[in-house]
Structures are given as structure tokens and as C-alpha cells.
Symmetry: none
Subunit: 422 residues, 2 copies
């Protein structure tokens, strides 16, 4: 079944609000196994709205419209659809009654224009609005179903869940086929490299489909299959997952759309481990991401942002001979990353301490190029490990990538020790 | 001028991401005085994309496409537009060179598909990508201008601001009346409060127009007027600005769309002042935002993230009697905020030291509600000041608002001392 969505509202075209309804409805339709082919936004203009609805009617089995059901002159969606379908307008008496009762209860006079919210396209089914006044409409004409929903998400979402889903099941679904999907989350490998490793699978994909998405230093792969039974779907998803993991399994860190920081907070907490971070070029980003996860206070003891060499020396005990002088490796080096991690482990007395020092750019530092970053991981009673990274992108991306790669290495460390099984 | 936008990406149709690009571009075009009539989202499907672009070409003077410029098989935007316009594909050699250099520097083999990111539609102008690899394209055919931009907002926004605006000015704007605009940037006041203070001005606005935009804990007000002379425009903008500043002038921190952290880095550097931050509930966010500004190493010495009470005591010398015990004010208190700022000033020996401690939520801490935050500012030879904040929103918003209010107070402090005049 082919669906499309039309959001009506000049405020969307002016950028005053984001069209989050499109995301919500797309997710809901995907779960119902309905394919969305287009989303359109159009202003409160009768001629342009009519054009857009007419185009949608030609190519879709299901057209969902949001917005333009309110009381004002700008709210034109019902009138435009009725005119296009050559139908008249009726009054939905239960909705009118509800509105009159509500105004009477509040002791407020009902403005005449409010009656428009109880309008129905002739011959359509009413969709009750449990969170507002505008009644929704649903109808089928010439093989296309039209669903008219209010624009405010707090009215639209309950109407979809309470009214639209049952209406679709009763009117459009002969045999219920459900879409089953699975998320695989990878880090430590770029989107293009991941895709290159799976290119033949992706190109030959039919069922399940394989879709990779880049996400802030992480990559999400979504497997999806339509099936009439959970068991059949699970079998197909398992087979495909196995083929993928043979190739890139070492970068997998979760089977859900969660972030590395969420996984780390969860695993450190579960194993009663504590963590601290010493940051130079990332200036607090590692700590900020970890502490963005609720509950991180259970495992994150704290950190230091040692932006100056003096602070690296005073707080973390990094020898000045490492940091300054002609022959010194400098602040951006394996040696300094190691000394920072070791110094922090002592200072914070945590189980793990990580460090990041590098050149975020723009421009060089210590005659080293932007994107050169060293990360370190120290752990109680274990050997400290450092890695050299050569990252590209602007300042913001270099910082984010450095932090995410450090998180991935830390996750890998826990996995290598057998603390995580995925 | 009539514009429309086309976002290309199946992930939008599946509801996996929200089309925030549409909002950003709509706002930008509104500021340029360009009317947006339609926004469309279509999947990575050549036939459907071609249809959508053909329709847009018939009705618009300017078509902006986002997404589908990456290296994968799904990235089809350039190919589809080229085919529709009957043009061939060329290689943009500088972009290819940049990509090859980048892969060589990183010591990583370049996957062949990456070359696609340097493709150009024959006869188009290249739009450099300062934050990624895919080059943008701009061209005019049969009276319609086409702009092809990458999908990731981190690449799309800089490309729009650095490349597209000048391109539009050079190629499309010869005959128009000039739009003069002025930005006023406020902090320490919410968007709704700011708007409530100016509601009569906003409602009666005709010329100049007044548009408020909420921006990550800051509010931007844009005044705009179309005029044939700079002098006339300046007079109108000055008059309106004066009316606004009589009411909310104390929250103004810049006459440009810059962030508080940019202004702070600039002013601290200019006055040779140093800064350090002690963070608890914000976990590094203050440091991260300050160090996101290139050049911040000139003024930001560093910080500590003291998430645990033990670290507040050991690193910052906050007395344990303040932190723990039945009668103690606790970690979330005026007293602790003051002791953290004072302790950090000693530790880092900076001119200024700030502190943040609070309950980011969800849920309470020390039987104190989420949103209760204390901030402190200590300065060499001056009395330390603390403030109690009661913030609302989720964890992320509480943290961001706390940091931005602290920045605003710090800015205010410099202004009160006569260091900043605006």
C-alpha cells in the first residue's frame, strides 16, 4: 500500500515550527507495513493545497493530511478536500454538542467560527478528538483513502492511535502483514567503510532490506522484513544478521538504536566500575556526553579539562619535560596521552581513566596537523594503552569523532575482558 | 521569488530522522525575502525523485535539494537532476584532490565509491563543503535555479551560509530591492517572556518586521526592512531597536547572530583575562561550549568535572561538612557553588572561575527538585557571587539553560565593570 502525507500550514514554510508530525506518522505507518512515498508541506493557500491533494490522489492509496482543521479563516483543509472530491459539507452534531457543552461549562461565549471545527466532509467517518475540538475525517473515494487530522501533535497522536488505526484495519487491510525490523549499532568504522564491506548484501537486498544510517560518529543499520508471522520474520532477520556480523561484527556494540555513551553508562554501572576522563582538545565533550545519560552519576566520578600545559602538569602530574622543549614529544603525543590517563587514575582513584589530547583545529598546533589526536585508557592494575587517530572534518567533527572512537575502544576493552556479551 | 525545497532520503520517509533542514532553510530564505511555497520529502528512488524535481521546476524559480550527495548507491540526487536537465556528469578535481589528500593523511585506502562525492553536474558551480567531502552544486536552467546540498545539517548549514548566500546574491538578486536586516541577540530571558514583552510591537509590525527565534538557550531577534537606500533602512532599524531596548535592553549581548560562548572567548581574550570552570550537574558542557570556539585556548585554562562529593572535596577543597550530613546544605546549594568557585580560583590561578551544581533530573537529588541549580562566579580580588536558578525542561534543557545563564551572568559582570560596551 502506497501512502503519502500532506502537512498544511504556512508556519511550516516560514520555518517557525518543525514538521515532527511527519516523523511520527511515518514511524506509525512503517510499523503497520504501509510504505510512505512522499511527504509534502504546503501553506494555507486553497489553490496550492488543492493541487497537492489532487497529485497525491493520483499516485497514492492512502493520503494523510495534518493541519488546517481549526476555527480560523486559514483553516481550509476540509473545504479544499470536499471541493476536490465534489462533496458538500455537513455538521457533525456530536462534535458540535461537545463544543457547546465545553463553552457552556467554562462560561465563555462560543465564537461562531468555532462551529467550523465540527464540520464533516459529506459521507465521511468522524474521527473523535479526545484532546481538542476539531473532529477528524476519514473517507474513501475512487480507490484512495483520505484521513484528515488536526495539526497540534497533542491532538493528532491520540486521534491516530485511538481512531485511525482501527479505521484502517476495518477499511483497508484485507490480510494483515506486519513489518518487523531490527537495529544494529556500530562504532569505530565510518559509514562508507561499513557499507563497502556489505555492498553486495545491500545491492542484492530484497528481503530483509538493509539500510545504513550515519549518526554522530556511530552507524545504525536497520534490517526490515514484512511477514505474516513473528517466527518467520525472526528467522529471516537472524540469517541476515549473521551474514553481516561475519564481516563487521567486531564493530557492533548494540542491537538497538542506543548511543555508545548509554551503553557505557549501563555496562560500567552493571559491573560496579568507575570512570574518569582527562580532556584537552575536547574540552569537556566526553564528560558532557557521558553525563547526558541519566544515572551516569553511579559510574562517572568526574574529570579534568586540562587545556593548558601548566594544568596538565599540576593536576595530572604530566612531566614538563614531556610537554615543552625542543626534544619533547609535546602535549599532542602518545607519551602525554599516557601520562594524562595514568595521572588521572591516581588523582580520581577510579577503575578506569581515559585521556584525549590533540589538535582540533582550525590550523596546526605544535606544528602538528588538525585532526591528529591521541587517546589513552588506563585501568587499575592493567597496562595503559594509547592510540593515535588521524581524523578529518571541522573542529566540531574532529572533537566528536575523537570522543566516539575513545568510547568505542573503551567498550571494546570491556568486551575483550568478557564483561560484555552482545 | 518562489522557492521550494526537496529533501531526499528514505530515512525521512521511515520516520528515522526529522527534517530539520526544512526549518533551517525556510528561516534562511525568509530572511532573504524569498517565499517558500512547498517542501517535499521523497525517498532514494530515481523515478520518484525525478518526478518531484520536474514538478518543482515547472512552478518554482529556486529549487533547493538536500541529501543524496554521499558516496553510497542510495545517493542519487546529482545523477537524477543531471538526467532531468539533460546534462552529463563531470569530476570536480579540487574536491577529488581534497578527498585523496585526506585519505592519504589518515593512511586509509579510499573506497572507490567516495569519488562520487566529487561529482559535478556539467556546467554547474561548485559549492565547497568545509565540513565534509561531498561537493555541492548550483546551476540555472530554463529560468529555474537548482541548489544541491548535502543532507547532514553539519555540512549543509555551513555550505548554505558560506557558499549559497553569495551565489544567490551574484546570480539571482540583481534587480531586487535590498533587504536590510539587523540581528539582536538576547540571553537570560526565555523566548516566551521576551515575546510577551514585545507582543504589541510584534503584532503591529509591518516595517521593519520583528521575528524572534529561539536558539539553544539564547533568543535571536531579527529586524528586517526592504528599502532602496541604506540610510533610510538604518533609520527605520534604529527606531525599532530603540523601542525594543527600552523594554528588554538588559538582556542584549550582541548585535549579530553570535553565541554567548563566542562573545565570552572574544572579550576574555581581548582583555587578557583567564577563565576556568568547575562543573557538577552539567558534566563538562560549559567547557565543551567554550572550547568549541576556535582560539579559546588563549583564555580557557581548564576545568574540573566534580561529579562526586569526594572529588568536590579533594580537588576543590569543598568542606565535607557542607556536602554531607543531616544539617549540611548539601552539594546543591549556594554554599557549595561558592566553595567550588573559590576552590577552583585557587587551583587554577585564573582571573575568573565559575561553578555549576544542581539537579539535572530526571527525579530528585538530596530531596531537591530537578531544575534547581546554583551557579557561582569568583574573581581575583573580588567578592564571589552565587545565584539560585529554578529551571524547567528535560535533563538536556536544564543543563543547557544552566550553562547559558551562567555565561550571561559572566558577560553581565564584564559589562558592569565597563569592559564591554554594546
Amino acid at each position: 500500500m502506497k501512502a503519502e502525507m500532506i502537512a498544511v500550514g504556512t508556519e511550516l514554510l516560514l520555518g517557525q515550527i518543525v514538521n515532527t508530525n511527519a516523523q511520527y506518522l511515518s514511524q506509525q505507518l512503517a510499523m503497520l507495513g504501509i510504505d510512505v512515498y512522499y511527504q509534502t508541506v504546503v501553506g494555507d493557500n486553497p489553490a496550492r493545497l488543492k493541487d497537492v491533494v489532487a497529485t497525491a490522489m493520483e499516485r497514492a492509496d492512502l493520503v494523510l493530511l495534518t493541519g488546517g482543521l481549526g476555527p480560523t479563516m486559514d483553516d481550509i483543509t476540509k473545504d479544499v478536500v470536499a471541493e476536490l472530491l465534489d462533496r458538500s459539507m455537513e455538521m457533525h452534531l456530536p462534535s458540535l454538542q461537545k463544543m457547546e457543552d465545553m463553552f457552556r461549562d467554562r462560561g465563555v461565549a462560543m465564537v461562531e467560527s468555532n462551529r467550523r471545527q465540527a464540520h464533516m466532509i459529506e459521507g465521511s467517518d468522524a474521527l473523535d478528538n479526545s484532546a481538542g475540538l476539531a473532529v477528524g475525517n476519514a473517507l474513501i473515494q475512487d480507490g484512495t483513502a483520505f484521513i484528515l487530522l488536526p495539526g497540534p501533535p497533542k491532538e493528532m497522536k491520540p486521534m491516530f492511535e485511538e481512531q485511525v488505526i482501527p479505521w484502517l484495519e476495518n477499511n483497508l487491510f484485507e490480510e494483515r502483514v506486519t513489518l518487523y525490523s531490527r537495529m544494529l549499532k556500530f562504532a569505530g568504522i565510518g559509514e562508507s567503510n561499513l557499507e563497502a564491506s556489505l555492498i553486495d548484501l545491500i545491492e542484492l537486498q530484497t528481503d530483509p532490506t538493509i539500510a545504513p544510517y550515519a549518526k554522530e560518529g556511530e552507524v545504525l543499520i536497520r534490517l526490515a522484513t514484512k511477514s505474516s508471522s513473528l517466527q518467520e520474520a525472526e528467522q529471516k532477520l537472524n540469517d541476515m544478521e549473521e551474514q553481516i556480523l561475519v564481516r563487521v561484527g567486531k564493530y557492533l556494540f548494540a542491537r538497538a538504536d542506543v548511543s555508545l555513551e548509554q551503553v557505557l553508562v549501563e555496562q560500567f554501572t552493571k559491573h560496579h566500575l568507575s570512570l574518569a576522563a582527562a580532556e584537552s582538545c575536547t574540552g569537556g565533550l566526553f564528560g558532557e556526553l557521558i553525563t547526558s545519560v541519566a544515572g551516569s552519576s553511579q559510574m562517572f566520578t568526574g574529570g579534568v579539562i586540562t587545556y593548558s600545559n601548566q594544568m596538565k602538569h599540576e593536576l595530572l602530574n604530566v612531566p614538563m619535560e614531556l610537554l615543552e622543549g625542543e626534544q619533547a614529544p609535546g602535549a599532542v603525543s602518545h607519551e602525554t596521552a599516557r601520562a594524562m590517563a595514568d595521572g588521572l587514575l591516581k588523582l580520581m582513584k577510579t577503575d578506569y581513566a581515559v585521556s584525549i589530547t590533540g589538535v582540533a583545529g582550525p590550523g596546526q598546533s605544535e606544528r602538528k596537523p588538525a585532526g591528529l589526536v591521541y587517546i589513552g585508557i588506563a585501568a587499575k592494575g592493567e597496562e595503559t594503552v594509547t592510540h593515535e587517530l588521524r581524523l578529518n572534518g571541522n573542529r566540531e567533527m574532529i572533537r566528536l569523532r575523537a570522543v566516539k572512537i575513545l568510547m568505542q575502544r573503551l567498550w571494546q576493552r570491556l568486551q575483550d575482558k568478557g564483561l560484555i556479551t552482545i
